[in-house]
């Protein structure tokens, strides 16, 4: 997958600046294989949409080159790139019916009338809107408009489809439903998708790989499970999923693990050495809430206690906010097995495996 000769889309040393003073994208190197579903995930202003726009041809890279199918595309105008795109607010043409919207890319390619009709119907059937061809976009619900936009981006059989936060305007239920639908369509037709979102659960649901953007730099590019379970820096750990942090100083390094002394004299923690190098370095420890167990001690030295600040009942589990080692935002998820009978203000015994604690940068 990382073999550059095989990559379908390749960003090479891309820099982008709008004003000549600030770099919006810094030294971006990214390879996407054919048929892959890659998501660019990051907070707003992290450069992910800019990257997408450079790929679509609406922005030019300040430095570097983008290759599509091994050919540089910086000089190719957007209308010759054969890249489909689903825009944030769909950008359906309000003066055209759904069928006319879908025919548009085919008409400008001078495809014959009967072929257009057939392809449009096929695309509409694919998004389950077969009977909606004569409607105008304004007569459709948000979810239906979203499907039309998707069908329009696919109808001319582009080499690649880009999606710029396509589900942002939908309500939660519809969004989740559409996530699966987009994923299924991707699985079915095997097209390469580059997807931009700031919603991490969306990214985790749909993608083969996720590129986490922050501050114009790709922080980590990995599959969803690795990204969640093995974040390489504290930004990724914080951005993907829920995360408990404890700050400290590295006291001992032992191969792939290390021992960290917590700030405030709360004791020593054994952790995996990920993003720290030397003894004496400041570090942030990251522990997922579901990896913290209560009321049973482990063989590791990672046994602590915390005071319950708040309990939130969530049905399948109970969410407990604790004050642990000076961090009163420490979250623990307790499975609702019926045996949990603590109250707010109680002290809890906590423990975790040293493999589940990652010593990251501060």
């Amino acid at each position: 997958m990382n073999d550059t000769s095989q990559s379908f889309v390749k960003f090479e040393k891309i820099d982008k600046s709008y004003d000549g003073e600030v770099l919006v994208v810094k030294n971006l190197n990214l390879d996407i294989a054919k048929g892959e579903f890659v998501t660019m995930l990051g907070p707003s202003g992290s450069g992910k949409t800019t990257t997408l726009m450079m790929l679509a041809g609406f922005e030019t890279p300040t430095n570097g080159e983008i290759f599509l199918d091994t050919k540089p595309i910086s000089k190719i105008p957007p209308y010759e790139r054969e890249i489909g795109m689903v825009f944030q607010n769909y950008a359906l043409f309000p003066h055209m019916t759904v069928a006319e919207n879908l025919s548009f890319p085919l008409e400008v390619r001078k495809i014959s009338k009967p072929d257009i009709k057939e392809k449009v119907q096929k695309a509409l059937d694919m998004v389950e809107l077969g009977n909606f061809g004569t409607r105008f976009p304004a007569q459709l619900s948000g979810g239906q408009q979203q499907r039309v936009a998707l069908a329009r981006a696919l109808v001319f059989e582009p080499r690649l489809v880009l999606m710029d936060e396509p589900l942002g305007a939908l309500d939660k239920n519809l969004r989740e439903q559409m996530q699966y639908e987009i994923k299924h369509i991707h699985d079915r037709i095997g097209i390469t998708v580059v997807y931009v979102t700031h919603d991490q659960s969306e990214a985790l649901t749909m993608s083969n790989r996720i590129a986490v953007f922050n501050d114009g730099v790709v922080q980590q590019l990995s599959t969803p499970d690795i990204l969640y379970e093995k974040p390489e820096n504290s930004f990724v750990a914080k951005f993907i999923g829920e995360n408990n942090t404890l700050n400290g100083v590295v006291r001992e390094v032992n191969g792939s693990s290390c021992t960290v002394e917590l700030d405030g004299g709360f004791g020593m923690v054994k952790a995996l050495k990920i993003n720290v190098n030397e003894v004496g370095e400041k570090t942030q420890l990251s522990i997922r809430p579901e990896r913290v167990s209560i009321d049973n001690t482990t063989s590791d030295s990672n046994n602590f206690s915390g005071k319950i600040e708040e309990l939130i009942y969530l049905g399948d589990h109970i969410r407990a906010r604790l004050d642990v080692c000076g961090n009163n935002e420490f979250i623990v998820k307790v499975p609702n097995e019926g045996s949990f009978n603590h109250k707010e203000g109680d002290e809890l015994k906590l423990s975790w495996n040293s493999e589940d604690v990652r010593a990251l940068d501060l």
Binding site: P78, F104, R109
Partner: protein
Amino acid sequence: MEVTISTAELLTTDGIPLRQSLRKAERRNKIRAFLLVFPLLLFIIVTFVMPIGDMLLRSVDDSQINSVFPNTFDEYKNWDKGADELPPEEVYKSLFFELANGDKRQIGKALTRMNYAKSGWKSLIKKTTREIKKIVKKGEEPVSYKETFIKINKFWGDPTYWYSFNQMVNDRSSIYYWNALDRTFDEDGEVVLQDEKRRMYVKTWLRTFKVSVYVTIFCLILGFPVAHLLANLPLRYSNLLMIFVLLPFWTSLLVRTTAWIVMLQQNGVINGILVWLGVISDDGRIQMVYNETGTLIAMTQILLPFMILPLYSVMRVIPKSHMRAAQNLGAKPATAFIRVYLPQTIPGISAGGLLVFVLAIGYFITPELVGGKDGKLIGSWIAYHLKTTLNWGLCAALGGILLGIMLIFYWLYNKIVGIDNIKLG
């Protein structure tokens, strides 16, 4: 088993019919809404609906003269023009007494009206009335009223004077409308063209149309790119540009028009620069003002904001992503513009076009000042008859036609574009 379908009215919990209860609950709101618009409604009725109604009545009203010469006109209608060259004796007789006994002021008004139908009436009747009064004073009774009239002035034997009565003998008359279109009634009351030297309105109507269409087209050509720029520039630049667009609104119309005279006249700024650059010779200075060209230039400039503003308001809400989407789908920028952007601006184009056209067709001050002799529009004639000839009936007819044209355009617009699509801001 019998199924009964309840057709009873829906009731509220208290047993009052739901509709009635709803009406009662809404009544206060309705009254309040009405009271809020009432002052404006009253104002519009008094200052807009009533004057227009009055104007439309005037355009078909000939009752004043009919109240002065009722008998004469009655007798006149019995005149068989095929058989007799001149009206029968009874017409002369009625006219004799109505002139002798009539109210002087009312007759004076009627004379003005008669002069519109045929010039010469005023002096003829004035002279005749003097003579008739003398005869009445002496207590004589003419043997033949016809002979007496012709003796007083030989024009009373000229049937063309009598024919012009055809234009006045009815209380309600369409003559003003026909006059406004260079038509009149002949001796049989048929509609015919005016004498060649009295034809000026059709020409002016056509010119008014031509100028209005041109001004609308020029405004569109000049305004479209500006509106596009306004809608797409960053806010701080577009605000500045908007001030330039609105600047003309803050300057007196008169000042702007005069400024155009200074710019365009033969010894004006533009000609001066062209001569100085050597583009034209000193003798070849271009006549750009006091003609149709001047009217076109000045009106285009003055009406431009009325095109830009509706266009801008429409363009502002067209998402920028549409052009991108069209290009992304494979359309070249020109195709994307024509097929995606332009159709979405149609509400703005038509609103601006209708606005500019309607304003242009009734424009007065600018064509009056810079139009010279062949750049004047129909509005100038209305003003002329309103102030100089006091022929208000003709004024009203010209105005009525103008109103009719606007309504036709409005109707056409509604048919083609749909009035719901209009967007002014």
